[in-house]
């Protein structure tokens, strides 16, 4: 349909406004990440959107490489928290995808686990904060407190609904003829699932995995309550970035924020095609 | 007031020209089929008539009124989409009275006109049914009724039968033609199926590569194709076209078809016209239905590749590649083995300029 020039002008104006609003916080964080200490707190006329003296000091500082005399040096560099985030989110994703994919297949093909859809919706509805007391008790009892594998376990459970719903829609849509043919050939059902179905579902499986990873990577609350020191994740670690020398370590926080933003943004772009389906529990597809 | 005139109509999409200089007049109450293969510009033409696309150049007139710039909602055209675009989330009634409701007619009028239309289309028992899940011919009727209820001066139909089972198409064609008679409006019907065009249209406009090739009644385009494209496109199978040279024989002017032999001599009028064309290279054309087997004399001799016997007719595939010729016989004739000798009926012979493809008309 052809659009009038008035409409086109309006469209570009509206989109540019939206882009500006979208980008302001991101640009600010990026700029802050490259600002030297003296520019962190500049206000009023001194406030700058582009660092006057751009520096990598904030990043170096995070990894214990800085030579600035922020006398209160970091007791812990950001390396371990980044590792903690990667491990807990990664293995949490593995748990969610493993259990979720298997269950989705069981329900989609054999009608097993009819209680799962409701149970998983309830799981998603419920605010994690409200079960954290018993979870802390259990995790302590099982010696899972402050471990990346303990976090991975709870992440696996919390994101199980997404893994399940996503994979269920994928399985529901997948034509069954090939599976049936393989069955006729004499394959066992388990073999069909492992050797035929899963390889065919590689692309959807990858999208769902990345999506679940983003969710796990984003967590703050659970890690806040289930980790204390050894395996704090990036967002929890970030709150310790303050010093008496300079106050809030805005630059370091922004630098770490940028680092934390990298995986989801890249993964998000990679799975753009399936993002909508993921976000809507598989109700919408592309 | 419902005649349509297209003057020098051009449509370009970027550097691609979808429609080149189209001039066409569609008479009031006429059923015109826009026929052509996909990408020929027929849908673009119709979209411009409906107002969905703006022409790059040229004018579109409804009667005397220039419609360029008039938004599509105000052109008073009815449009039947390829998939009917029925509002499946509404009932049949809501589909039928949609336009009336949207244009703010009084409720009483809305009901009366919708019900009258339903009665006309035998849809009355279905009025309160959800439109989703109805059969295609019902959907077609709803689609037409939904537009017809607005009393458009012009009806545009975009390949309405292309999604329909072949078996059902005949029924739908009949129904559509009947409806057109009933409403008596100008109809433009886009199709790539020459059978639909031939059976329903008053006139056919054949298009290819954005160029209008020929306009005429079904018989005109069938019998007197303006060029090789039309000749090949119309008819099923299309006209046999063989490259050749004019050759003087003792029985008059004929066409030398190379390995296939020399054709029977051309009828006088055609021979005269061929002389006048001034170029010995011609394309020799004849309809597959209009050939007969000959035992002796000038004939085209071709090996029989395949005989499709489909009951009432037998289609013979003769020769290979460039020289392929098809012949259609009624019934189940007994055929000799090996090479067949056939001759086209002289009256059905057509010659085309080998370079331009334009018909060389005799008489």
């Amino acid at each position: 349909m052809t659009r009038s020039p008035v409409f086109e002008t309006f469209r570009y104006a509206a989109i540019l406004l939206a882009l500006a609003i979208t980008l302001v916080p991101i640009i600010w964080m990026t700029s802050m990440a490259f600002k030297p200490v003296s520019e962190w707190q500049a206000t009023g006329a001194d406030l700058t959107w582009i660092p006057k003296r751009p520096t990598f000091e904030n990043f170096r500082y995070l990894f214990g490489q800085s030579e600035t005399t922020l006398i209160v040096a970091l007791e812990r560099t950001a390396t371990k928290p980044i590792l903690a985030s990667l491990l807990s989110a990664g293995f949490g994703t593995l748990i969610a995808m493993g259990a979720g994919t298997a269950a989705a297949y069981g329900l989609s093909r054999f009608g097993s686990g009819g209680n799962l859809p409701l149970a998983l919706i309830q799981l998603r509805l419920f605010p994690p904060m409200a079960v954290m007391i018993p979870v802390m008790m259990m995790w302590a009892f099982l010696s899972l407190m402050d471990t990346w594998w303990g976090l991975a376990l709870i992440y696996g459970i919390v994101t199980l609904p997404f893994a399940f719903w996503l994979m269920k829609t994928f399985f529901d849509e997948m034509p069954r003829e090939i599976e049936e043919a393989a069955l006729v050939e004499g394959c066992t059902r388990l073999r069909v699932f492992l050797k035929i179905t899963l390889p065919m579902m590689r692309a959807p499986l990858a999208s769902a995995t990345l999506f679940v990873f983003i969710l796990n990577w984003s967590d703050y609350l659970i890690a806040l309550l289930l980790t204390t020191r050894q395996w704090v994740t990036i967002p929890v670690y970030m709150s310790s970035l303050a010093s008496s020398m300079t106050g809030q370590l805005y630059g370091a926080k922004a630098a770490l924020g940028l680092i934390a933003a990298v995986p989801p943004v890249i993964l998000g772009i990679m799975i753009q095609r399936h993002l909508v389906r993921g976000l809507t529990f598989g109700a919408l597809k592309q | 007031m419902s005649a349509i005139r297209l003057e020098h109509l051009v449509k370009r999409f970027g550097s691609f020209t979808a429609l080149k200089e189209m001039d066409l007049t569609i008479g009031d109450g006429e059923f015109l089929a826009l026929l052509g293969p996909s990408g020929c510009g027929k849908s673009t033409t119709m979209n411009m008539i409906a107002g969905m696309e703006a022409p790059s150049e040229g004018r579109i007139l409804f009667g005397d009124r220039d419609m360029v710039g008039v938004p599509m909602g105000r052109r008073g055209v009815g449009f039947v989409f390829q998939n009917y675009a029925i509002f499946t989330h509404m009932t049949v009634r809501r589909n039928l009275d949609y336009g009336l409701r949207m244009t703010g007619r009084p409720a009483v009028e809305v009901r009366q006109r919708a019900e009258a239309m339903a009665a006309l289309l035998n849809l009355t028992p279905l009025l309160e049914r959800p439109a989703a899940g109805l059969s295609v011919n019902i959907l077609q009727r709803i689609a037409i009724g939904r537009s017809a209820v607005m009393e458009p001066a012009i009806f545009l139909l975009d390949e309405p039968l292309s999604n329909v089972d072949a078996a059902f198409r005949a029924v739908m064609r009949t129904e559509l033609k009947a409806l057109q008679r009933q409403f008596g409006q100008t109809m433009v019907y886009v199709t790539h199926d020459q059978l639909e065009a031939m059976t329903m249209a008053d006139r056919i406009a054949v298009m290819d590569h954005g160029v209008l090739q020929q306009v005429g009644t079904p018989l005109e385009v069938y019998n007197a194709p303006a060029n090789t494209f039309v000749a090949r496109f119309i008819g099923s199978p299309g006209m046999n076209l063989l490259p050749g040279r004019l050759a003087e024989t003792d029985r008059g002017l004929a066409v030398d078809l190379g390995e296939l032999g020399i054709s029977p001599p051309l009828p006088d009028a055609l021979a005269a016209a061929a002389h006048g064309a001034g170029r010995p290279e011609v394309t020799y054309g004849f309809r597959p239905e209009e050939v007969h087997l000959v035992e002796t004399g000038p004939a085209l001799r071709l090996p029989l590749i395949l005989a499709e016997r489909i009951g009432a007719r037998t289609i013979l595939h003769l020769g290979r590649a460039e020289d392929a010729v098809r012949a259609v016989f009624q019934g189940n004739p007994v055929l000799p083995e090996g090479v067949l000798a056939i001759a086209p009926d002289p009256a059905s012979l057509r010659l085309f300029d080998a370079v331009t493809g334009a018909a060389i008309r005799g008489g």
Binding site: I26, L107, L125, P127, Y220 | -
Partner: protein, 308 residues
């Protein structure tokens, strides 16, 4: 992109499935079932138990001995008259009532601009959906910086109106709530945009054109064709945001810790504070169970609707 118009083939019923398939089905669903039981049974039982007591980690005894502090339904009674809790509930509802519709309409508006093709569409699209990829906690720190009275947001406003603006966003109870909402809207409008765009693109173009040819104007087309066709999508999009908004914590807590005072305290923040500061865990358990019951009812009703 389209709503799955035809519902997926109904899951096969037990009767129609051969025995070996049933067995495999059970094995395949087992891990998920175990995980759900694992996270459901103990927490519910424990919360049920301690919710009937005055137990607190400060009470000097491990929780299995909470019965020594039995108080019957006193926690549930307290909950009814807990003004701070109810104002947190009200505030959560307020955030939801403001943010979800704003996100919806902004998202819808943007989505409408993106239905057909234009130059730069892909790039703009990629940028516009970036906020939802930012880790919420990071967004919290970002907005904390942005909303300082000498910070960039006031700077922008100042530039726009030509004189310095000093708005103490995070120190004013009303503005703090506004700031928190702005952050939420910033982060989650893209989600609405993404989903609604998928929905809009899924509305058959022919139907919109047909409606136009039948004389419907833009608003009528939207109301009578696009909207009904997108109903499912819209419900899903709204439901997702309502659910997530109900749980709002990360960004908000980092920006304001629920402050100033209790001005931005939502249900999750309130529970967090009561859990970590007041340490009255029997009471927290009571709140948690009430939430669980209410949400379960909601979930069952929602599932029933979905099934229809």
């Amino acid at each position: 992109m389209s709503v799955t118009d035809t519902p997926p083939a109904p899951p096969p019923t037990a009767a129609s499935v051969p025995a070996d398939a049933v067995r495999l089905g059970h094995w395949l669903t087992l891990p998920a079932q175990i995980l759900i039981l694992f996270i459901a049974v103990f927490p519910i039982l424990m919360q049920l138990y301690i919710s009937l007591t005055d137990w607190s980690p400060l009470s000097g005894r491990p929780w299995p001995r909470a019965w020594e502090l039995w108080n019957g339904f006193a926690n549930y009674a307290d909950l009814m008259s807990d003004r701070r809790l109810w104002s947190a509930v009200g505030r959560t509802a307020l955030v939801m009532i403001v943010c979800v519709p704003v996100q919806f309409f902004l998202g819808l508006g943007l989505a409408m601009l993106f239905v057909d093709d234009f130059r730069g569409k892909r790039l703009f699209y990629s940028i516009l959906i970036m906020p939802m990829m930012v880790v919420p906690a990071v967004a919290g720190y970002m907005f904390f910086m942005l909303f300082q009275s000498g910070g960039p947001i006031n700077d922008i406003f100042g530039t726009l109106i030509g004189r310095p603006v000093v708005i103490a966003w995070l120190s004013d109870p009303t503005l703090a709530l506004v700031a928190v909402m702005i952050a939420d809207i910033w982060q989650w409008t893209p989600l609405m945009f993404l989903i609604l765009l998928a929905g809009l693109v899924g509305v058959p173009d022919d139907q919109m054109k047909a409606a136009t040819l039948l004389g419907a104007n833009a608003w009528q087309r939207f109301r009578t064709i696009a909207l009904p066709r997108m109903k499912t999508i819209i419900i899903i999009a709204l439901a997702i945001r309502v659910i997530e908004n109900f749980k709002i914590f990360d960004t908000l807590y980092i920006m304001t810790s629920g402050g100033p005072g209790v001005a931005t305290e939502t249900i999750s923040v309130y529970i967090y504070k009561v859990t970590t500061q007041d340490l009255i865990w029997g009471y927290v358990a009571a709140i948690a169970l009430v939430i669980l019951i209410v949400l379960s009812v909601v979930a069952v009703l929602a599932m029933r609707r979905m099934a229809r």
